[in-house]
């Protein structure tokens, strides 16, 4: 009962590889996914559940868009920015997407440095990721403001189907909430990394359990997922 690590004490007995290995793992005792910690397993399963939420949102959106009897506003006009005298379609979204994808890169680097126990670099990269995330949310807010000043409301808009505004605000809002939660998580974990909690075995304030560097990777899983979802939103909402 010394440490609270969920890391393997000993490797399980003989483990075949390939399909036979998969079968052997599932037929084995204790754990179905060998070398997967509880936290990581939980995050994966949560993300599966969350996929269904986003899936339902997007399917609802598609069914509204496909069955609409009035015209659907043209995304490349609606989401254009007026820069230097010309309307540049989708420019803002392109930048937002670029930023979010870059943040996945910095996140991946943070995970790498985390496992090397490089506290400073890990924390800084996580902060950078959080900064990218916050920028994304800020630009989202800018876009919302722009649309709202142009008269888009959840219940209607000047150009056509009312469901355009309602699905847009709902889905990007739900995604933006995910990003915001991710940013908060990143900041909390970055602080813990910086302080060295995972080396000193300091216990969590709420759970009174000791953390591990693996939490960086788990946060990363969530972050990449939120990114991936954005790609789908981007494709279905802006490019369709």
């Amino acid at each position: 009962m010394s440490a609270e690590t969920h890391s393997p004490v000993r490797q399980p007995l003989h483990r075949p590889t390939g399909l036979a290995g998969l079968a052997a793992d599932w037929a084995s005792d204790q754990r179905a996914f060998k070398n997967v910690s509880w936290g990581k397993a939980m995050m994966w399963i949560f993300l599966l559940s969350d996929t269904f939420i986003f899936g339902c949102f997007l399917i609802a959106y598609m069914s509204a868009r496909m069955s609409t009897a009035v015209p659907w506003p043209n995304p490349s006009e609606v989401f254009a920015l007026h820069i230097g005298g010309t309307d540049v379609p989708l420019i803002l979204i392109a930048i937002m997407t670029f930023i979010l994808i870059s943040s996945s890169g910095t996140m991946a680097m943070a995970v790498n440095f985390g496992y090397r126990r490089d506290r400073k670099k890990t924390a800084l990269l996580m902060l950078l990721t959080a900064l990218f995330g916050a920028t994304f949310v800020g630009m989202q807010a800018f876009e919302w403001t722009k649309l709202i000043t142009e008269g888009v409301r959840p219940w209607g808009n000047p150009w056509g189907a009312a469901q355009f505004g309602s699905t847009f605000f709902m889905i990007t809002g739900f995604h933006g909430t995910h990003v915001t939660i991710g940013v908060i998580f990143l900041l909390i974990i970055a602080r813990k990394v910086w302080r060295g909690d995972f080396d000193t075995g300091r216990r969590g304030f709420f759970t009174s359990r000791k953390g591990q560097y693996e939490i960086v990777e788990i946060t990363g899983l969530y972050w990449h997922f939120v990114d991936l979802v954005w790609v789908f939103i981007f494709a279905f909402f802006y490019l369709w």
Binding site: Q30, M42, C56, F57, V70
Partner: protein
Amino acid sequence: MVDIRSGTGEPIGPAEVEDVELYHPHSWWTRYVFSQDAKIIAIQYASTAIAIGMVALVLSWLMRLQLGFPGAFAFIDADRYYQFITMHGMIMVIYLLTALFLGGFGNYLIPLMLGARDMVFPYANMLSYWLYLLAVLVLVASFFAPGGPTGAGWTLYPPQAVLSGTPGGKDWGIILMLSSLILFIIGFTMGGLNYVVTVLQGRARGMTLMRMPLTVWGIFTATVMALLAFPALFVACVMMLFDRVLGTSFFMPAIVEMGEQLQHGGGSPILFQHLFWFFGHPEVYIVALPAFGIVSDLISTHARKNIFGYRMMVWAIVIIGALSFIVWAHHMYVSGMNPYFGFFFATTTLIIAVPTAIKVYNWVLTLWRGDIHLTLPMLFALAFIVTFVNGGLTGLFLGNVVVDVPLSDTMFVVAHFHMVMGVAPILVIFGAIYHWYPKITGRMLNGLMGHLHFWVTFIGAYLIFFPMHYLGLIGVPRRYYEMGETAFVPASAHTLNEFITIMVLVVGAAQIIFLFNLVWSIRHGREAGGNPWRATTLEWQTPETPPRHGNWGKELPVVYRWAYDYSVPGAPEDFIPQNQPGSAGLAPEGAS
């Protein structure tokens, strides 16, 4: 099956995970109120579920009083009747059954049956309960809100759910209902993730998936399903909340209300139905699968025989769980659907009957020539099988489009779903409580009160719901406040309604006996000892009864065999606990 029962001579692997250190509470508050111990959380979940379930029970009495004696009780007007129906249905399905099976039995039994010290993330598990409690409180608040709770029916179909003709539609009722559901889903997710990860990653040494008791299989599969089905309800609730509060038109077509054209337009009520039933049908099995699992264990233990076809039982549970995601539109045959879809969904619906029937056969074959002890858990298990078969057969009627169309929205449907997902799971819950109460409290429930409770409930439930099939066949519609004068319903139907209502009150009284028994036996019940049923599963092998925080003493149990070694020939006793090494099992570690 030998390999499942006693392993293949392969030695049991070393511990792959270090023993976790649990949070040790320092005060009364963190020990009993804000507890992170799954057993306490289970009791909290169960008590809250039973308390709110009593509300739903009382509502059913009020509805039946109106149906049996129309107009005799002035305060039950049409609006109230719809509010009662809605709250009754929603509470029973979600806040009672789902919460009790997964939050209650899941929390108590999963760690104990798997030889774990607790759920993997006790803190999230605790939050799960408190969010559930909050959801219940929000739900209860709607009874006191202006306009009262929603009367939209438990299916909450738009557009009527958010219009002024429906009680609570333009008041607080529907808002509170939807908010409560959203809270429930968030809370459930925290618990559900725990149950799933504990089963997958937190088992004892020697506990393979194929040695898990079927109870755990049922709860596990149901939880996975819930994690995939609740998202659809979540999305539907969020969207309807926006329709109601922000004036969006996700589900609202252009519509005239009280002679006034509303601002809504272009939304699809059918979309809501799809989302709702994508959740709603799996929900039926979320309630049924834990019941299947528990009943298998009750039958095996109390018939002193191994469960027949364990592997088949496991696969049936998994296949039912998977299939139940592609049958949802059988609830929408009358909503207007492409006939090819109707054909598809009717086919999948009938296919589910196959694994379900396999389970029933296996229960019966387990009983066959068993050493049947007619204990209370066994009685309830037997009653479950009968009731479930009954409800399943009427389900075959309703699964066929042409048969369903005339029967839809009649009392036949009410009879069907009460049999299959009302009475049947409730019987299992009773059986399970009689079975595990000794472990939870250390004392047996009183047998006399128990038998009274059983016979009145079982026979009474039949007297209540069986005649409803007949009422439905002659055309008595469902969700009607009052029948009035009709040509096709004979006067005798009314006599039948009075009879049903009286039986409802009798059965209700029996439940009071049960609740009294629960409280009374904590102090006055017979001392049970650690393993009163002489059962094999790990929860009966704990060093203390009731189990302490951490469940096991210093050493975690090691599992040598499957959960069903009853009446093994040559064994000194008629059961061999899962953690007992020996000739029929593997040599203990280090002995070879």
